[in-house]
Subunit: 228 residues, 2 copies
Amino acid sequence: MSNCRQCIIKRFNALKTLTNDELENISDHKTTLIIKKGENLMTEGNAINGMYCIRDGKGKLTKLNTNGKEQIIKFIKGGDILGHRSILSEELVGLNAIALEDMHVCFIPKGDILDTIKENTQFSLKLMKNISHQLNEANTSISQMAQKPVKDRLAETLLHLEEIFGVDNEACIDVILTREEIANTIGTATESAIRLLSNLKKDGVIDLIGKKIKISNKNALKNISEGY
Amino acid sequence: MSNCRQCIIKRFNALKTLTNDELENISDHKTTLIIKKGENLMTEGNAINGMYCIRDGKGKLTKLNTNGKEQIIKFIKGGDILGHRSILSEELVGLNAIALEDMHVCFIPKGDILDTIKENTQFSLKLMKNISHQLNEANTSISQMAQKPVKDRLAETLLHLEEIFGVDNEACIDVILTREEIANTIGTATESAIRLLSNLKKDGVIDLIGKKIKISNKNALKNISEGY
DNA sequence: TTATAAAAATGATAAAAATCATTTAATTTT
DNA sequence: AAAATTAAATGATTTTTATCATTTTTATAA
């Protein structure tokens, strides 16, 4: 089992503020797990007794609506932390975390997280910064969901996906999503998402190579996302 | 100028964790201000150098969309704190805070907040809890905006408004909003909001008394908000 | 109080988006 | 590799929601 001190993924999150002693302690208590594609790491409505740190793999955070439809709230990848929101608010988990591909994840017990918060102000501040930033993003999302038409939201989402996951060696957005998942991200019907993707392709703004999407005219896409 | 130790509004927020010494210190540094109806307490995109604690008065947190439309993200009232998200994430203010009626507000400089975070773990934890809770609410909001029809969102919003602001002596929701503001909360056109309110009245679910709204059949409204 | 402006209400119409139905293509399974 | 399943694409249609136009009501100012 690997040691947290050697782990380089932590430099992307609040765990980078930990002292060597704190890291040793967490190393001793952490467990590592493999989440296979399609499996749940966290489930909405459940209690949680620790925080997850994603080592690698991509995933989605979703919410199940009353009508049974999935809403994708956020995408996750290596370096992201999960579960801290629930621990800090002392509420049940609010979102499902589902692997889009096999993931390697470390689990750190709640007690260690709370102890570290009490001892290490820098860690506290980084956690707060993380959640505060997420809150700001969520507020922006609400506004866009409420006021932008579906086409604009699709453009926005494609730009966002490229920003998060980067591009592969063929310049395609480096994540594989079904059309349904894209629809569930922008909050529309699958057929509408498919149609709008086809239109963007016809207009030369994107390229569709199987399930992969390549942004071929980023400026045009930005304009569309802003309603032009 | 009043003293924070005597202030009872703080029992509704993170400031209740402060020691007497900390309260004295903040009392010395705080300023009190009156925000008249319609005025801004915070403005989107601005820097902020402190945290606000609302003593009384009601307000709205809004975001201006690219098309110039206002989206109401959240309602605020006495006991709520503002600006801490921006301080903690070290980002610009994300929302406008606008008074719906005259407000009394205290301003606490950023330095005092950050000092207190470092000294008082309970205060830190309460702040984190506050933001974590807000993040959870925001995520729920995204999901509902994306997937619920306008009618359901209106029902949801009316229930939410009653929960936040309570009712007056005539059992009306105790806040005065224009139809446009209601529309900007649920993310629809003003005319649509008006029409749906009229329908709810016709169906005997609510009562419209001038600008005041009375929920006359809460169960029916709950069912509507859940899509039945 | 009357004039003026702003907000609310309502009808008619247009645009956006969802749903249903079917076909085509891509994956999986046998 | 063929069959079966699932996902993607596309057309036709309906539903939802927005926009435009106008009237009525309410609030504000002269």
